[in-house]
Symmetry: D2
Subunit: 258 residues, 4 copies
C-alpha cells in the first residue's frame, strides 16, 4: 500500500526511547536538535523507514514511519489530552470504516478528527463542527501533516443549533453538552446509525442517556475504560505505578426510526 | 456509502434490549422465533434500517444494520471471547487502515480477522494463519456473513514455521507462543511496521517482550485495559457490579532495521 | 493471647480448598456432611488448630481457627454482601481501636458490626441501630457465634430520628440515606471524631458529601476500592477473569467544632 | 475511651484542607509556620479536639486529634510509601485484634508497625525485625509519637535467618524475599495462624506462593487492590484523574499442621 522509502517532505517519527520520540519533517539542510545532539535528517532521504541514524554526539535514533496514533498523540496540547484507549473504543463503537460519512463535534485540536479521517479513507468524509475558530485552524494544520486534510470538511458552527448533513453513518461527540445534540443527531443519521459521545462527568452521562432515550435511540450503553501499563522485565515484571485514573465515559447508541 | 434499505439476503440485528439481540438473515417466508414470539422478517424487505417490527405476541423489535462489532461479537463461541476493548486497541496500535496488508495468527473463529478485514477495505488484504483447519472453516463462514471474505486469505499453516508474505504493514498475534513468531515477523514487516500481540499471562508477555527486543523491534509497550459498564439512571447511577476482571495484555512494537 | 487447642462448643473453619470452607460448631457425636463425605468433628476436641482431619471417604480437611474475616463473610446472606476490602478500609478510616465507642447503622446481618466489635475489644462498645427487627435478631446470632455479643448494644431504632449516645469516637453508616444522619452524627461525635459512610450510588455520595459540609465536618474524602484476585502459578500467572466491578463508595470525614 | 481536650505535649493534626495537614506537637510558646501564616499552638491547650484556630494572617485551621492513619501516613519518607488500602487489608487478612502477638518484618519507617501496634492494644505485642539499624531508630521515633512504643519489640535481626518467637498469632511481611521466611514463619505461628505478605512484583508472589505451599500453609490467596478517589461536587462528580496504578500484591495464608 504505502511507500516504504523516506522522501523529502515526509514526516518521520524520530525514536530514541518510549519517552523520547519526535515528529519531524524531512527537509534539505535540516538538522534536528535533541538533548542527545543534532540529527541531520536530510541524510535519511532514500532510506527505508526503520533505518537507524546517529546524532553528532553518537546517539542512535530510529526513523519510524508515523502511525495514526503518532499523528493523533503528537498533535495535542497538554491541557486536554485524548487518550488512545478512548479514541480506539469510540472508533469501534461508531462502526465506521472505509467510505463512511461521519459528523464530529467539537473539532478541538483534531485528535479524534485525525482518527475518523484515517478510518474513512479513501472515499469517506468527516464533517467536523467547532465554534472556536482558532481550534479549527490548529486542527487543519494537524490534519494536513497527517495527509488527511482532503477527507475533512471543517465547519465553524455550533452543532447544538443543528446539523447540515443527512443520512450520515455515525455521529461522534466530544463536547460539554452532548444532550443538546441528540435530537439533531437523530435527524442527521441513517436508520440504525451510531452515535458515540465522550464525557468526563457523571452528570453529563445521565443527561446524555436521558436525551438519547427521548430522541429515539436504542441499544444505549455507557462504559469506562482504564488502561494500565506494565513494566515487563524478567524477574521484575509488575504494573506501572503511575496511571491515569480517569479520562471520561463513553456512551454509544443507535438510531431507531420513530 | 452503504444502502440504507433492507434487502432480501441481508443480515439484520434484531434488537429487543441490550441483552437480547439477534443476528438474522432476511429471507422469504422466514419467521424468526424469540422468547417474545415470532417475527416475520420477510416483511422488513424494502424498509429502512432502524425500522420497528412487532412479533405475533405484540412485542416491538428494532431492525438494526449490523455494525462491525455485531459481526465480531455475535460470531464467537462462548469459550474464548475476544473483547471489543482489546480488538479496538489492537487495531489502533497496529496502525492499519484502508489498503493495509496485515498478517494475522491464529485465525480462531475469525473475530479479530473480521475487524482487520473491515479496516483494510477496499483494497487491503489480511493473511490469516491457523493450524486447526476446523477453525478456518468456521472463520470463513463468519467472514462471509460479514461480507468481508474477499479481503482475507486463509492459510492452514503454522506461523511459527515462517511467514510467506513480505513488506507487510502490520502483524497481529493472538496465539499461545508469540515469542516463536517475532523473528519471522521482523522479516515479513516493512521497516517501521507494527507488531501487536495479545496474551493472557505474565509469562507470555515476558517471553514476547524479550523476543521482540532480540529480534530488532523498538518502541515496545505492554498495556492492560479494563472496561467497566455504568448503570445510568437519574438518581441511581453507579458502576455495574459485574465486570470482566482480566482478558489479556496487549504488547505492541515496531520494526527497526538492523 | 488465645487458646490454641480446639474445645467442645468452639467454632472451627473446616477447610477443603479456597472455594470450600465451612464454619462448624464442634459438638459431641456430631458428624458434618460435605460433598466429600462425613467429618466426625468430635474427634477434633483437644487437637490444636491447624490439625488435619479425614472424612469417611478419605478426603483431608484442615480445622482452622476462624479469623475475624471468616465470621464476617460466613454470616452473610448472598443478597447483599459486604466485602473485606470495604470493611477493612472503613475500619481504618474511622480510626477506632481497643476501647473505642462506635455508633453504627444499619445493623443488617451484622457483618460490619462484627468487625467493629472485634476491633474495640475488650473495653469498647458498639451501638448498632436498625429499624428492621428481624435483622437485629439475625445479627445477634452472628455476633454470638463470633463471641463478640457482649461488646454490642443493639437498638431497634431509626437513626435518622436521632442518636442517643454522645461523645462517641466514630460513626459508621451503611444505610440508604446517610445524609439524613450527618447532623445527628455531628452532635453525637467527639470533636475530631470520624464518620465513615458506604453507598453504592453516585447520587448518595453527592448528597452525603453536601450534608457533611453543611453539618460541620472537614477532611471529607470519597474513594472507591477495586480488588482483583491473582491466579498464581509458575509460568501461568495472571489476574483472575472474574471480578466484582463495583460494591460501593466510601466517604469519610471528621467533626470540626462549629 | 480517650480524652477529648488538647493537652500540652499532645500531637494534633492541624487541618487546612485535604492537601494541607500538619502533625504538630502542642508546646509552650510554640508557633507553627505555614504558607498561610503562623499558628500559636499553645492557645489550643485546654480546648477540645475539633476546635478552630486562626493564623496571624486570618486563615482558619482545625485542630484534629490524629487518627491511626495520620500517624501512619505522616511518618513516611516519600520514597517508599505504604498505602492505607494495603495496610487496611493486611490488618484484616492477618486476623489480629486486641491482645494478639504479631511478628513483622521489615520494620522500615514503622508505618505498618504503627498499624499493628494500634490494633493489638492494650495487651498484645509486635515483634518487628529489621536489618538496617537506622530504620529501627526512625521507626522508634514514629511509634513514640503515636504513643504505641510500649507495644513493640524492635529487633535488629535478619528474619530470613530465623524467628525467635513461637506460638504467635500472625506474621506480616513487607520485605524483598518473603519466600525465605515461610519455613521460619510456619514454625513460629500457632496452628491456623495467618501470614500476610506484601510484594510489588509478579516474580515475588510466584516464589512466595510456592514457598507457602511447600511450608505447609493452606488457604493461600493473592489479591491486588486499586483505590481511586472521587471528585464529589453536585453536577460535576467524577473519578479523579490522578491515581496510583500499582503499589503491590497482598498474599495471605494460614498454617496447617503437617
Amino acid at each position: 500500500m504505502s511507500q516504504s522509502v523516506i522522501g523529502e517532505g515526509d514526516d518521520i517519527l524520530l525514536y530514541l526511547n518510549r519517552s523520547r520520540t519526535y515528529l519531524v519533517r524531512v527537509e534539505k539542510s535540516k538538522s534536528f536538535h535533541t538533548h542527545k545532539g543534532f540529527v541531520q535528517v536530510e541524510q535519511l532521504v532514500g532510506k527505508p523507514y526503520g533505518a537507524r541514524v546517529v546524532s553528532n554526539t553518537g546517539t542512535e535514533f530510529v526513523a519510524l514511519k508515523p502511525l495514526l496514533s503518532d499523528f493523533i498523540f503528537k498533535s495535542q496540547r497538554k491541557t486536554q489530552i485524548t487518550y488512545p484507549k478512548d479514541v480506539a473504543l469510540m472508533v469501534m463503537f461508531c462502526g465506521i470504516g472505509s467510505g463512511s460519512r461521519v459528523v464530529e463535534a467539537g473539532t478541538g485540536t483534531g485528535a479524534l478528527t485525525t482518527a475518523l479521517a484515517h478510518y474513512v479513507k479513501p472515499n469517506g468524509r468527516v464533517y467536523s463542527y467547532e465554534i472556536r475558530e482558532e481550534f479549527t485552524d490548529l486542527a487543519m494544520k494537524n490534519l494536513q501533516r497527517a495527509k488527511l486534510l482532503d477527507l475533512v470538511e471543517f465547519k465553524v458552527k455550533d452543532i447544538t443549533q443543528g446539523i447540515d448533513e443527512s443520512e450520515v453513518d455515525a455521529i461522534v461527540l466530544d463536547l460539554a453538552t452532548p444532550w443538546l445534540v441528540t435530537q439533531h443527531a437523530h435527524s442527521a443519521l441513517k436508520g440504525g446509525g451510531a452515535l458515540v459521545s465522550f464525557s468526563p462527568t457523571i452528570d453529563q452521562i445521565v443527561k446524555t442517556v436521558e436525551a438519547l432515550q427521548q430522541s429515539g435511540f436504542v441499544d444505549i450503553e455507557t462504559v469506562e475504560c482504564m488502561m494500565r501499563g506494565m513494566q515487563v522485565e524478567r524477574g521484575k515484571t509488575r504494573p506501572e505505578t503511575l496511571m491515569t485514573g480517569h479520562t471520561g465515559y463513553i456512551t454509544h447508541a443507535r438510531k431507531a426510526l420513530t
